[in-house]
Structures are given as structure tokens and as C-alpha cells.
Symmetry: C2
Subunit: 228 residues, 2 copies
DNA sequence: TTCATAGTTCGATCGTAACCGAAGCATCGC
DNA sequence: GCGATGCTTCGGTTACGATCGAACTATGAA
């Protein structure tokens, strides 16, 4: 009754389908304009505007105006984690939006989760890093090993730079499609960035899925093998 | 729009103040009757009944009828984690139910979080276990060491028994009042149970707070010291 | 059997919030 | 300056859901 923080407010914010859709879309990590968000929410811009104002007042979103556009993003990583964790929970209970099935196979294979790689490929990458001794997994926590730091340098990722940020280097994030952990944190972000930079993969316009090129696919599978 | 699980449903379930209050109360871990839950929700039994039916249909609650009572509990630990994580999130944004202040000091000192100890004492216990080398912390994951297993046996906790359950032994759980981790999982549960069994502490009737006796307080602080 | 307690179902009321059309600002391109 | 585009604010409609009184079912006690 009177004890503790107020869950109901944020629950209600997420509880509206239009808002939930917008938040889910923003989990894709890229900033979206009010009009785009109205599209994903299936509502008019006027309605979207009031929704966005509420979400911002609730601290879930921030906006950045740029010219005559307003770009909305999730307020911070904590929001992204909350949304993803709710997705995981919902998926586990069968609260799927439109029934099961290998829906959107591209999305299950590889997609972006705020700023890092998720889906089948995300899970595979973490599994492989653990198997090769680059990352230590204890319970549900992750830590980079010295070997891992060396290996990463070989593929052009300087871990020292990443450590300077306040953000944790490794963090595990639960995947709603695979129901297994994948790598988040600044290292997860750096790895995905490097794949994009190398041209191995690219983001798609309207979806959260990540498309690997044939060559990128080959390189990725070679770099992150899984033993049979 | 069409991709992924449906967050809005569970958001809406949690989004109603009466339901949120009931869920928060059930985070206390003990089963409550419909009438009791109506009390904490501040509504009549009829209304509570429909709310409870919705929560059950949504997979958040289960009920067990016993005589003419119906006891409701959270469906499983995942629900408890979801609620606690939302509380942590809400607390971080200042979404407090009734303004700040050292509200309910007893609750901040020690309270139950589903089935384990949270609050100041919960955080202290985990800190101490890590400092003494009983638990390894890697990232945000926890693992019991051999030394820890021995130490626990000395205070009457047989870790072997706990391992048999499918539930993870150690798990870290984020505290909304302290904003730091405390120990959950079957070990967290076992530790709290042992404190209650020993008579060091007892649960209170209507609140989630845990009251330590003077003697229990002394023993607890001696058992889990923190270096200055 | 009858009465009391616990809970659900029904029906009706009421408030709130989602929604859109239209109008109002702001910014850009010209 | 002008019109076009992106977004917000206003006003009014509508629909859904939370709420409770009252009636109904189930269990237990006497």
C-alpha cells in the first residue's frame, strides 16, 4: 500500500499498446522522429505527440530537436534493459503479439538490442567467447580475461578505451528469442560497431534486424566457432 | 509494431495502482488471501476478485484454495524478479509513492524480497561474504567458493542439499532502497530461513520488513562484519 | 438444517484516457 | 517574404475498465 516505489506509473506507461510499440521500436537504438513513431504505433501524429510527452515526463524518453525534427531515444540504458527484460518475461509466458512460429527469421538470427548484437548470432558470439577462454562466466556475470583482451586487440578493439567509460565492460543480457544470454555492455557495443564498420553487416531501415553479408557471415562464423 | 513479444499486456497488468499494490505485497513472499489483498489494494473484495482473476489469467499469480480461503502467490520467481526490477527502476527515477525521506526506516534496514533478505542488512551480508572470500563476484554474477561452502556448513547450511534444486544457488538481486546488490537464489533463501529459525529475526504481520532481535542483531553483525 | 464467512459473478455507473480533426507554432527551402 | 513540412495544443467524442452494490456459490461451524 504505502511502502516502496511506485511501480504502477511506469507499468501504466508501458501498458498502452501504442506506447509499448514505440518503446520497442526505440530499443533498436536509433533515434526516431515523432512521425516515424506514430507509424510504428499505428496512430496519428497528434496522438503520438501526447504519448511521447507522457513518456518523456515519465523519464523513459529524451528528445533532441534538430531542425524541424524531434528525435526521440530511450532515456538511458536502464530503460532499454527494462524493456528487454519485460520482453523476455512476456515471451516466456507466451504473450506473443501474433502467435508463435519462426516469426521474422531474420530477427531471430541477428538483431540489435539497444546497441549490441542479439539473437542467434549474439548468443553464439558469447558462447564462443566463453568457450575460448576470452570471457569468464560466473553465475550470470561476465568478466573479460587477459587472453580475451589480447584476442580483441587482434581484431581491432582496444579494451583500454572502453574501460574509461563508467559503463560496465561486460554485461549479460537475456534474449527473448533464444532465452539465453548474449553480451551487452560497452564491449558488446564495440563488437557490433566493428562488424558494421568492417562492412560485415548492416542495419536495416525499419526493423531491428541486422543483415550479414555473405562475406561477413563467413568471417563471423570463423571468428566465433562453436564446437560440435 | 509486429515484432517481438507483447509488453503492453503485462505493463497494463502492473499499471493499475490496485494491482501494483497487490503484487508488491506478494513480493513479501507469503501467500495472501483475496480479502487481505483487497485491503492492501484499498478496494473492495469484489473489485479485488476481478483484479486477481486478471493477474492469474496473465500468468503473474497462482492460487491455491484451502478450505474456504484462496491463497494467492506470485506465479514464480521470475515474476518476483520482474517486480523488484521495476521497483529498482522506479526508485531510480524518483517515482516514489509518497515522497522521499528515510521512509519506513525498518524497511530500509531489513526486509524480505520474495524469499531472501534485502535492504541494508542484505547488502551488508553479501558485501561481507565477498570480502571474506566466501563468494566470488565477477561482473554482476556470483559464485560460491569452496571456502564459502565450508563456512556455511559451520552455521548449519548444507550447500549440497541446495544444489539439488534446479534453481540457481547464487543470484544477485538489485535493491531499490540501497541501489546495490544483495544475495538471492536458493542460498539467499536458506540464509534468511536460518536466521528466522534461529530466532535472530522474525517477519512482521503486515509489512515486508524483517525485525531483528537485539541478540540476533548482535550475532548478525558479528557474523557478517564489514571492514572499516 | 441453519447461519456465518470467503469469494465470485452480474449489472450499472462513472471517470479517465486514448483518439482524431482542426487550428496553431516553429523551422526549413525557396 | 511565401508555402511546405514537422510537430504540438485544443476541444470534443468515444470506449474501455475500474469500481461497487447486490445477488449467488462454496465451505465451514453450530
Amino acid at each position: 500500500m504505502k511502502e516502496g516505489p511506485d511501480i504502477a506509473q511506469i507499468g501504466a506507461l508501458i501498458g498502452d499498446p501504442a506506447r509499448a510499440n514505440m518503446l520497442a521500436a526505440l530499443t533498436g537504438g536509433r533515434a526516431l522522429t515523432a512521425t516515424e513513431l506514430a507509424g510504428v504505433g499505428g496512430i496519428t501524429v497528434q496522438t503520438a505527440s501526447t504519448h511521447l510527452a507522457k513518456l518523456e515526463a515519465g523519464g523513459l524518453l529524451t528528445q533532441r530537436k534538430q531542425g524541424r525534427h524531434r528525435y526521440f531515444t530511450l532515456a538511458d540504458e536502464a530503460v532499454a534493459r527494462l524493456i528487454e527484460s519485460m520482453m523476455g518475461f512476456a515471451a516466456g509466458r507466451g504473450h506473443l503479439r501474433h502467435q508463435p512460429g519462426p516469426k521474422e527469421p531474420a530477427l531471430r538470427k541477428a538483431r540489435i538490442c539497444y546497441d549490441h548484437l542479439a539473437g542467434d548470432y549474439g548468443v553464439r558470439m558469447l558462447d564462443s567467447l566463453i568457450a575460448s577462454g576470452s570471457i569468464d562466466a560466473v553465475g550470470d556475470g561476465l568478466a573479460l580475461t587477459e587472453k580475451g583482451e589480447g584476442d580483441l586487440k587482434c581484431i581491432g578493439i582496444n579494451v583500454g578505451d572502453l574501460r574509461s567509460s563508467r559503463r560496465p565492460l561486460c554485461r549479460s543480457c537475456l534474449d527473448w528469442s533464444e532465452r539465453r544470454a548474449h553480451l551487452a555492455g560497452s564491449l558488446g557495443k564495440a563488437l557490433l560497431s566493428s562488424f558494421l564498420d568492417k562492412g560485415w553487416a548492416r542495419r536495416t531501415a525499419e526493423s531491428r534486424s541486422i543483415l550479414f553479408s555473405p562475406e561477413g557471415d563467413r568471417q563471423f562464423l570463423k571468428l566465433f566457432p562453436v564446437d560440435p
